[in-house]
Each structure stands twice: as structure tokens, then as C-alpha cells.
Amino acid sequence: MQSINLHLKVLIAILVSLGLAITAYQIYVLDIPVTQDETDDIWSLDARLEFQAVAGTPVKAQMFIPPLDQNYISLNESFISNNYGVSINQTDGNRRVTWSARRASGNQSLYYRLVLTQRYSPEAIEDPAPAPRQPIELEGAEEVAADALIRPIRQTSADIETFVSEAIRRVNDITDDNVKLLLGEDTSPLGKARVLDVLLSNARIPLELVHTVRLESTPNQEPELWLRSHNGERWLYFHPETGQQGIPENRLVWWSGNAPLYNLEGGRQGRVTITLNNSEMNALRLAEMTTENTSSALLEYSLYGLPLHAQQVYRVMIMIPIGVLVILILRNIIGIQTLGTFTPVLISLAFRETDIGWGIVLFTLITALGLSLRSYLEHLKLQMLPRLSVVLTFVVVIIAGITLLGHKLGMEKALSVSLFPMVILTMTIERLSITWEERGGGHSFKVALGTLFAATLAHLLMSVPELAYFVFTFPAVLLILVGFMLAMGRYRGYRLTELVRFKALMTKG
């Protein structure tokens, strides 16, 4: 007995921890949403390049497109263009699309669309550190101005981070003569970035220009310029005007470097419009979509891998253990008597089709009618089998009658009784009749009531959508249930009803 107990405990421990581990893995590692309602942001980014083609010359339009190895996952990427050849090449960590056409005329529109989301993305890969660079050569007044700026910056800074911040602060002070000289006419962020590049290169500090877009629903967005510098360990991002450090979450790096967003050969009056749109999508559908794009087959081996019609069946089936658990608790811990062990679960499944309120009415009505017929037939002294056959036929007739009546009265609910609930009902009546014969009316009434109660409770629990979703998505939960059921198999404590039953033993004497 001792060894069996130990065996059981180990088994329960294994099942429960396995169930917990798998579920935790699904939630925390695979990032599967815990509730069905969870939605994720989806960003769709449209970039439209318009230009006037110059007649007679081949057109070659090049445009940077966001790299895909960032903190986001692309769900869909498309290039829409009539009669243009499309090629994508990777240069210096940037991606660039090249549209080309032998001849084109008039207004041209080339589209690039990227749909992306942040969830399910693999760990972001840091861009590699830049190679050490040579100072940008300066001459004359510019050299003097640059030196005049660098010297105080060097004195008031401690490391790369503070150096860059200080440099940005000074470059943005356009009242400074040195800055004025270096900036010239160009006081745009790009101009300032250029000056910073010069300054930092002379201080041998790496600097890159990164062009980003904001993930906000905005039409006509201008790429936002950020600077980044590598401190030997990681990239530090700076805003070129405010000196703000650290790039906000919702910025998507589009390309880096000094090159403009696009360049055009054989076209003029080029213009790029960037539009961002935000939509929300059911997190789970998103997970399904992203599996195609990620290597982890997170849902491949789950029930979501089944064909849809099979999924429908399993959605119901996988909840049966929950119903059984309810019956187990009601019977072994509470002590409620039910008709058989699994009949209540079957009835609760039948309630799915008839819907609970109507189901209870129907159950009560039909069982009562069926049983009263039974008691009438008892006077005729029929053999058991023919008697039950008559009762069952009668039940079918009653159900058909109720359905017909309900239909005539315009109660569509009455039509919901399908074959399955009918079979369950007739079975229940058969078993109740037998109980009646064997144990009397009072007992069968008690049992019927217990069954109805258990079925209702099981149904209510089984039809909680969050629970149904959870069990279907994380079937390993069933292992935990089995663990509990096994433990119940060794439960020796009193049932709650026994506390009432044995109350007489409380009083001494």
C-alpha cells in the first residue's frame, strides 16, 4: 500500500508539473494569448513613390525599405507596380528595393506595403558595431570652428554618451558662431546631423544617422531622423535636436546612413508619401499567421492545426473532462446523488444544443410526462421491455409534439431539439424509470433533481467561453485535471452530505 501511495503521488506530481510546464511554456515562451479577446496592434505601412517619368529614358527608382530583423515581425510585404521589375538588395544593414522599367511615361506610382506586428517577434538582434572610422577632413575656418566646439565638449563629458549629448546640445545652439559657421544655411535636423557627424568623426566617435517612422496612424508621415552612436557595447540613440536619449518604443528604423530615402533615374518630381495605419487583430489569429513567418511551430502541433470542422468537434469534446470533474466533485466531495456517473455530462452536452433555460424546461417536462406514463403503464402489468419501449416511443412523440407546437407558436427555440438531446432524454427517462421501479418515486425524484443540478452546473462551467478557449488552447491543463482526479481517487474524507447524515453521531449518550 505504501509503495502504491508513493507511486500515485509521483504520478500526480509528474502529471501536474508536466501540465503546468507545458502551459507555462505556451504562455511565456510561445507567447500564446491567455484569453481569446486579447488583441494585438497591427501596423500597415504604405509608402507611395510618385514621379514623372522622363520619356525615352529607362526608369530606375531605388528606395530604402525597413529591414525585417527588428523588434517587429512582418506579416505581409508587397510591392505593387505596373510593368516594373522589382529587386531587393541588402546594403550595409539596409534594405533597398529597386524598381526598374525600360520605358515609362507620365505619372508613375510605385507602392510598397508592409504589415507588421510586435508580438511573437524573436529576440531583436543588435546591429553590429560599426568599424572605426577616419575623421572627416576639414579645412580652414571650418577646422578651427570644429576644434573650438570639440574642446569644451571633451572637457565637460565623461564618456561617449555624455559626449554625444553635449555635442547635440551645442550644435542646437545656433547663436554660437562656430555652429553657425558649420551649419551654413542648413538648420534642418539633417543639417545639424551632418555637423554632428563631422564633429564626432573628428573626436573618433562613431555616429550613424537613422531614419525612423512613428508607429502612429498618420497620413503623410515624414521619416524622423535619429542619431545613434556605439559605445562599444550597444547602440545609443539620440534625438538630433533635443538630445533626448533612447529611441521611443514606437519608432521603426527604416534605414540608416546619409543617403536619401529614394533616388530616381529617368524620372523627376519624385515624392514619397508614407501612411501608417493601425488595426487590431485577434491575438490568436495573429499567432496563427505569424507561425508561417517564424521558425517555431508553436501552433503547428496544437489543436489549431486541425481542419476547422474537426476543431469544432474538439472544442466541445475537450470540455467534457471539465464536466466530468464537476460530477466528480459533486458526487465524491459534496455527495449529491446523480443518475449514473456520466449521464449528467451527456445532459449538459445536450443543453448546448437546446440552450440552458429551455433545456431545463424541456428536461423537466418530458421526464415528468414520460414517468407519469410509466406509472400508468404499471397498472397494465406489462413486461419490462415492452413497457420501456412504449415509454420511449411516447417520449419521441412528446418531443415531436412540443417542437410542432413551438413552431406554430413561433418559438424557434423549440426547434432546437435535435437528435442528440432526444437520445439523451430518452436514455435518462429509461434509467429514471428503472430507478423508480427499484428504489421508488421519492428516490428517483431526488436522483433526477441531483442529475439536473449537476448537468446545469457542468453546462454552465463548460460553456464559459474563456475557459473553453483556455482548455482548447492549452490542452496540457487536462494533465493537471487528471492529476486532481487521481488524487480524488484516494480521497477518503467525508462527503459534505455525510456530515449531515452522521450528525446523530455528534450527540453523545
Binding site: 500500500m1 505504501q2 465524491n332 455527495g335 402489468k381 413486461q383 419490462m384 421491455l385 428503472i434 421501479e437 427499484e438 428504489r439 421508488g440 428516490h443 481517487g489 484516494r490 480521497y491 477518503r492 474524507g493 467525508y494 462527503r495 459534505l496 455525510e498 456530515l499 447524515r501 452522521f502 450528525k503 446523530a504 453521531l505 455528534m506 450527540t507
Partner: protein
Amino acid sequence: MFLWKTWKTLSDAGVMGINRRNADYVLKYNKRNLYPIVDDKILTKERAIAVGIDVPELYGVIETEKDIDLFDAIVEKHRDFVIKPAQGAGGDGIIVIADRFEGMFKTVSGKIISRDEIGHHISSILSGLYSLGGHRDRVLIEYRVSPDPLFKSISYEGVPDIRIILLMGYPVMGMVRLPTRQSGGKANLHQGAIGVGVDLATGKTLKGTWLNKKIAKHPDTTNQVDGVQLPDWDGFMNLAASCYELSGLGYIGVDLVLDEEKGPLILELNARPGLNIQIANDAGLTTRCHMVERHLAALKKTGRTESVADRVAYAQKHFGQPVSRTETPAEEPGTAA
């Protein structure tokens, strides 16, 4: 909290609940393949006769619809008899014929029934109406026990029987089940019969239980139910204890009757005896079962086994009243695991 307090009190008193009975006793001591011996009264009877245990005489068995014709031949020589389903439970489906009347039959309660009605009843039994799980059944027709007049004062109609619970052949608790008006002459507690505890040592009745309540008087006759000395108590105990060898089941309830002429007889065995016997005896089964289990463990160490007489002696020594005597005696080594 109330529930917790009740729980604690019952647990301290060693009261056995259904879950414990099923897990620790029925499942542990009763092999499933032996169930037919107790579930089928004909098999029980055959086994009992084979080992020389007294049972009510079997007049005949009806197995098929065709055999119903044999009924008249079977009962020809007997004015009174009992018709029983072989696999029935809880006393359902039993008809007790006390007399004949104008070619008809008269039940104990005085109701006259015709030969046709009996035929219909037998047919119902055969089709499995009263059997566990609705299987086809057999009908046995047997000697009608006439209860010892001793019970007249504390019983109402019907035949009182004596239920003794055995663990591995050791009687652990006993009660007399007395039919009431409410139970319709049947000795089943769930149908309203009363259960009266019996002091295993002496065979004297204790107070009783009726519908889960403690009582001291019979609800129909209002006579005191306690303090009645059952005759031939040692005979009952020995007969019951020998049912272990008969069935091979470790945890059973043995139902016996006391016949006016033939003395104690085995009526049937039950592999899942009820728990109300505890209320009748005002004692917990768990406490007593644990004592027997400790005793068995101690015996096992010395490699001894005990005979029927030894087992009865053990039970009478430890499970008699007053309750204080049931405390674990000093000679018991090897306490609980």
C-alpha cells in the same frame, strides 16, 4: 466553522465515510472477480451449502420464461415460500408468500395475489428489472423464514435480520434491522426500517437508528429497542465469521436471520455494506477496522493465522460495550504504519 467542527468530531470518533469505505476497504479487500459470489444469491447459497453453512432451503430456481411453468411443481409441497431475484439488491423484487387461499396466494401482509400475477412478477425478475445493471436474472424460490417470536415485541411484520460487518473474517460491528410500517415489512434502512446496534460481546441490543436519527423506541410498537438479548449469539457470530472463507471477500456485510426452528441462517452477503450501522451502534467503523488491521499485521509478523473461533473471540473481546473497552489494548504491538 460548523462543518469543520462536525468533520473533526466524526473523524475523531472514527466514523467511516463512503469515500473511505470504497477506497480503503471495498476496493482494497474485495476482489472484483469474487463479486458474483455475493451478488448472485444462488451462487452464495451453493457455496454456503458446499462448506456446510446454514442457509434457507432452496426449493427451486427459474431461469427462463419457459421455466415459469415449473413454478407450480416447485411450490407444490410448500404452503409458504419466498420468491427472490438472484441478483436483486436492497430487498427489491422479493415476494413472501405466507399461505394459500382458494388456489391463490396470500402474502405476509395479507394481500391476495393470483398465479398470473406471480408469473408476471417472475417474468419481470427474469428480464432483469431488479438486477444490478439490468442484466437478465434468475429467480430463486426458497424456504420462508419464520422469525423467532423474540422479535415480536420490537418488530413490525416482516422478518428482522441481523447484519454483521466482517473485515478479513473478523466481525467488527453488528446490528439488527427491524422492519417498520414505513418500510413495508422490509428490513432495509433506506426504506425506513430501523437499525439497532448489537453488542458483539454479548448479543444484547443497543439503541437504534431510524432515517439517520438516533432512536430508543420502535416507531410502530413504541417498545424499547435496547436491552434485548439475542439468543444463540455465539452461533450468529461463528456463522457470520465463516462467511469470509465462503466468499473470499475481505470486507462484507453478512445478513442473517433467526429462524424459529432452524436457528441462525445466512440470508445473503453484501460486498458494499452501508454505513448507517455506525449510527445504530454509536461507534465508528474506521476505529474498529484499524484495530483489526493492526491485529492482522501483528499476526502476519508471527506468521500465524486465526480460525473462525479465534476471530470471533477477538471481536467479542475488543468490540463489546462499553465503548471504553474498545480502546487499543496493551498487548497490541506494532502500531499503525
